[in-house]
Amino acid sequence: MVFSSLFFLCIFLPAALIVYNLSKNITYKNVVLLLFSLFFYAWGEPKWIIVMIITSLVDYAAGRLIDKNRGRAIAKFYMVLSIVITLGALVVFKYLNFFTHVINSVPFITLKETSISLPIGISFYTFQAMSYVIDVYRGEVQVQKKYYNLLLYISMFPQLIAGPIVRYSTISQQISSRGVTLEQFSDGITRFVSGLAKKVVLANYLGLLVDTTLKSDLNLISLLGAWTGLLAYFFQIYFDFSGYSDMAIGMGKMLGFKFEENFDYPYTAASITQFWRKWHISLGSFFRDYVYIPLGGNKKFQLRNMLVVWLLTGFWHGASWNFLIWGFYYFILLAFEKFVLKGKLESAPSFIGRIYTVFFVLIGWVFFYFDDVSKIPAAIKTLFGFSSNGSFGADAVVFKNNLILFAVCIVACLPVGRLVSNAGKRISQTVGGTIAVNFVTVFYQITLLFISVSCLVGSTYNPFLYFRF
C-alpha cells in the first residue's frame, strides 16, 4: 500500500487512527499499531512479510544475546552474525540478479537469474534493523526485551516503505511512553497534507512531464526539451521523496512519535557537501555512523572511506550500474570540494555556491534517471548541445506551458514553510492572533487535502486514448 492512494487515505488511515485512539493504554496502542502495520505491509506484499518477520526476529535475538554477553567476545560474533543475515536478505532480494549478471559477463559462466521481486521497503527496514543491533552492541541504546515492540519499530507503517530510516535511539523512549495533544495531532495533519500535496499534485504531474521528454526518443528531443525534462525530474524526485518523508513525519506526530527530519531544503545548499547534509539526512547519517567512521573517518584513509561510502550510497538506491556511477560522481565532487576547493566556496558569495550546487545536482540526476546506462551519453550530448536535434523545436511550447508549474516548484523548494510558521508563531502571541493562525491552518489543511484527493482521483482517469474504434 502507498500513502498516496485513495484506499489508504479514505479507509486505512482513518480506521487505524480510530482504533488506535480507543484506549490510552500504551500496550494496547502498540499492539494496534503493530497489527495495522503488518496489515499495511501484507496488503501489497503478502508473501514477503515473512522476510521482515524473520529478519526482525534474528535481530531481536541478537540484541538479547549481545546484552546477555556484554563485554565478551561472543557479543561481537552475535552482532556480526545478525548483520550478515540481515544484509544477506537485502543482497538476495535486491542485488542477486545484478551480481549474477556481472558474473555471467565472464565467458563460460552462466548462472540462472532469479525471478524474485524486490519486497517493498526492504532497503529501509533492513537498515533500521541493523542500526538497532549495532547500537545495542555499542551500548548506545537499551536492549528491547519485547519482540513485538521491536517488530513495531521495524514495521511501523508511516516509515516502512519509503523512510526516513528512523534510528531506534530516536524512538526507543517513545515506544514505551508517548502522548499526543490536539495541537500536535493537528500539526501532524498539516505536515501530512503538505507531503501528500507535494507527492500527488506536484511530483505526479512532473512525472508526466518527465515521461514526455526524457522518456521519449532521445533522438527527438531538443536542447530545451532535454533541460525541461531534467528540470522536471529534479523537482519530481525531491517532491516525491521529501513528500513521503513529510507524510511519514506527519503521521508519526498523529501517533505520538517524533521522527527526525529527513530533508532540510536541500536545493538551497551552497555546496555539494552541504547538499548531502540536507538531502535524505537519515541515509547520510546512517552511512556516516555505521560505515564511514568505523572505517576510520577523517583520520585515516579518508579518500578510500569516502569512495566506499559513496559507492554504497549509490548502490543502495538500486541494483544497477547507473546508481554506482551516480555515487561515484558524488564521490568525485565531494573529494574535489574537500581537497581542492577547501572551503573557498564558503568564502565566495553564496549565490555562486548555490548555482554551482544546483547545476551539479541537476547533472547528477541524469545518471540517476537513466537506468539504461547506454542512454546516458546521448542524454549528455543533447543537454550540452552536441546533438543534431536543434535548440528549441516544439519543446519551446512545452517549456512555456509549464512555466507556472516550475514557478510553483521553485517556491515550494524554498524554506517558505518555515518562514510562514515562524511568522505564525509571532502572530499567535495574542489571543486574536492564535485564532487567526489556527483558522488559516485549518483552511490550509482542508484545501490541500481536497486538492490532493481530486488529483488522486484525477490520476485514475485513464481514458483509453488510443482505442481505434
Binding site: V398, T430, N438, V442, G458, T460, Y466
Partner: protein
C-alpha cells in the same frame, strides 16, 4: 542639554528613593496582575487552539470518512463514457489471489474506479492541471500542451474495453492459421504510438495530436509495404495511402516543420517504396481543401469529407472519375453533438463549448457483413453508414467501427474487388469505394490475422489498399500485425 533632562526624569532609582515601599508593592502587584493576565491569555489561547485543532481534525477526517461512507452506499457504475473503458469491478476473492498480492491491487483499482463523485473530482483536478499548463501568453499562441499517460500507467491496468457494438468477440481459435486477437494487444499497440504522439496541442478550439518521425520508422513501414507487394507479386496491385493528420494543416509552425513535418515524412516514405507499389498522394488534395471541414476538432480522425478528398486522389491514380459529393442523395448530419477522443484526453472547456458534428455521404444499395473469422462463417449484417447511430462516439457510424473482417457488396457488376487493410482512419474512407468496386473486403490486421495471399486468391481480389494515418507509421504493433499476414 536635552539628554541630561531625560536622564533626570527617567532615573528609576531617584523615584524609588521617594516612593519607598509603597511603590515596590505596587510594582509587585502589577507584575502579579500581568502574570495572571498572561496566564489567562495563555489559557484562552490554548482553549482556542485546542478547539480549532479539534475542528481541523474533525474536518479532515470527517471529509475522508464521509467519502468512505459515500463509496459504500454509492450505486456501482460499470462503464465510463468519457474514458471509453469499463471500470474495474470488484475482484473475486481467493486465497491464491490474496497471497500473490493481486487481489489487493485489483481491489485498489476497483476502489478508485468506483470512487464517489469521481467525475466531479476528475474535472476539478483537470482545472488544477490547467492552472499549471495555461501560461498567460498571447491569445494567438494560446497553446496548451496536454501530456498523456505513458506505457507504464497502462501496463498495470489490466482492463480491456469491450466494444458493445460488435458481435460477441469470443476469444477462440477457429481454424488453423486464424486467431482472434484480444483487445489487450491493441492497447499496447497504441501506447507505442503514444510515444510518438507525445502530446496534444490545442490551438483556438481545435485539439491535435503532435506528430514526429524518424528515418528508421519510415523505412520500417516502407519495408512492410514493399514486402506485402513482393509477397503478392502479380496476384494483386498494392496501393499505399498515408493520410496526414490535422496538426499538419492547423498546428503552429513549430509542429509542422523539421521532424514534425508530415509532408516530409509522407514524401520520404513514398520514395522508399518499390515501384510495384502505387502510392496515393492524398496530401495535396487535403491541403487544397483545408478551409473545409475535413478534420474533427475534438477527435483525432478525419471527417467523411476529408476522407473523400483522399478518395479523389485514389481515383486520380486509377484514372477513374470520382463521384462528386453533390450526387449523394443520402447526405446529412448524424443527429447530436460529437466530442471525440481528444476531448476525452484533454477535458478542455474550449472543446466542450465547440463540439463537432459528423457529416455523412451514404452509398446506395449496399450490403455489409461482419465476420470474426477469415472463412467468413457466421456473418452479421451491418450498415455501411449508420445514419442514426446512438453511440456517443459518432465516428463509429462509419462501417461499424473497427471490425475484424467486413465484406461490402455493391450493386456494381464490374467484377472489381478490393481488400482494404486499415486502422480507424480507413473507416470514413471505405464507403466511397462503393462507387467503383463490386466487392470490398475490409480487415483490421490487429483484430484478425490470416494469410493475405491465400485470401486474395480465394476471393479473386484485384486491388489491395493499405490505408493508414501518419501516426500508424510508428505503430509497430500495427505493422507487426500486417507482417503476420504475409508470413
Amino acid at each position: 542639554m536635552t539628554e541630561n533632562n531625560d536622564d533626570f526624569f527617567d532615573d528609576d532609582f531617584d523615584f524609588s528613593m521617594f516612593e519607598d515601599e509603597k511603590g515596590e508593592r505596587e510594582n509587585e502587584l502589577r507584575k502579579e496582575a500581568l502574570k495572571i493576565e498572561q496566564r489567562k491569555n495563555e489559557k484562552e489561547k490554548s482553549i482556542y487552539s485546542k478547539m480549532i485543532s479539534f475542528l481541523s481534525i474533525f474536518l479532515c477526517f470527517g471529509f475522508l470518512i464521509f467519502l468512505f461512507f459515500l463509496s459504500v452506499t454509492d450505486a456501482e457504475k460499470t462503464v465510463s463514457q468519457s474514458e471509453k473503458r469499463t471500470l474495474a469491478s470488484k475482484p473475486d476473492f481467493s486465497l491464491s489471489e490474496l497471497f500473490s498480492g493481486r487481489w489487493a491491487t485489483e481491489y485498489e483499482d476497483y476502489y478508485s474506479d468506483s470512487f464517489p463523485m469521481r467525475d466531479a473530482f476528475i474535472s476539478f483536478s483537470k482545472k488544477i492541471e490547467n492552472v499549471f499548463t495555461r501560461f498567460a501568453g498571447s491569445k494567438n499562441n494560446g497553446v496548451i500542451v496536454k501530456i498523456e499517460k505513458n506505457e507504464d500507467d497502462f501496463a498495470g491496468e489490466g482492463i480491456t474495453f469491450k466494444d458493445k457494438q460488435t458481435t460477441s468477440k469470443k476469444e477462440q481459435t477457429t481454424a488453423g492459421n486464424i486467431t482472434q486477437k484480444n483487445s489487450k494487444n491493441e492497447k499496447y499497440a497504441d501506447d507505442k504510438n503514444a510515444k510518438i504522439a507525445r502530446s496534444v496541442l490545442i490551438v483556438d478550439n481545435r485539439a491535435m495530436e503532435m506528430f514526429g518521425y524518424t528515418e528508421s520508422l519510415l523505412k520500417n513501414y516502407a519495408h512492410m509495404v514493399n514486402s506485402v507487394a513482393g509477397k503478392l507479386g502479380n496476384s494483386a496491385q498494392v496501393y499505399s495511402l498515408v493520410a496526414p493528420t490535422s496538426v499538419e494543416f492547423y498546428g503552429t509552425k513549430e509542429y509542422r516543420t523539421g521532424y514534425h513535418s508530415q509532408y516530409d515524412a509522407i514524401n520520404k516514405l513514398y520514395s522508399y517504396m518499390d515501384s510495384s507499389v502505387k502510392t496515393v498522394n492524398a496530401y495535396p488534395e487535403l491541403s487544397a481543401h483545408s478551409d473545409d471541414y475535413i478534420y474533427f476538432r475534438t477527435d483525432h480522425h478525419w471527417t467523411a469529407r476529408g476522407a473523400y478528398y483522399a478518395y479523389t486522389a485514389f481515383c486520380d491514380l486509377k484514372h477513374i472519375a470520382p463521384r462528386t459529393l453533390e450526387t449523394y442523395a443520402s447526405h446529412g448530419k448524424i443527429p447530436g453533438d460529437f466530442l471525440g477522443t481528444l476531448y476525452d484526453l484533454t477535458k478542455s472547456d474550449i472543446l466542450a463549448k465547440n463540439p463537432d458534428y459528423v457529416e455523412y455521404f451514404c452509398p446506395e444499395g449496399v450490403d455489409g457483413y461482419i465476420y470474426d473469422n477469415a472463412k467468413m462463417e457466421n456473418p452479421m449484417s451491418f450498415l455501411v453508414v449508420a445514419k442514426n447511430t446512438a453511440a456517443s462516439n459518432k465516428y463509429l457510424a462509419f462501417i461499424a467501427g473497427d471490425q475484424p473482417l467486413e465484406k461490402i457488396v455493391t450493386p456494381n457488376k464490374n467484377g472489381k474487388k478490393i481488400i482494404v487493410l486499415k486502422e480507424s482512419y480507413g473507416n470514413a474512407f471505405v464507403p466511397f469505394l462503393c462507387n467503383d468496386y463490386e466487392e470490398i473486403y475490409v480487415v483490421d490486421p490487429r483484430k484478425l490475422t490470416f494469410d493475405l495471399k491465400d485470401f486474395i486468391m480465394a476471393n479473386s481480389i484485384n486491388d489491395v489498399l493499405l490505408i493508414n494515418y501518419a501516426f500508424a507509421i510508428g505503430n509497430t504493433t500495427y505493422t507487426d500485425a500486417v507482417w503476420e499476414m504475409i508470413k
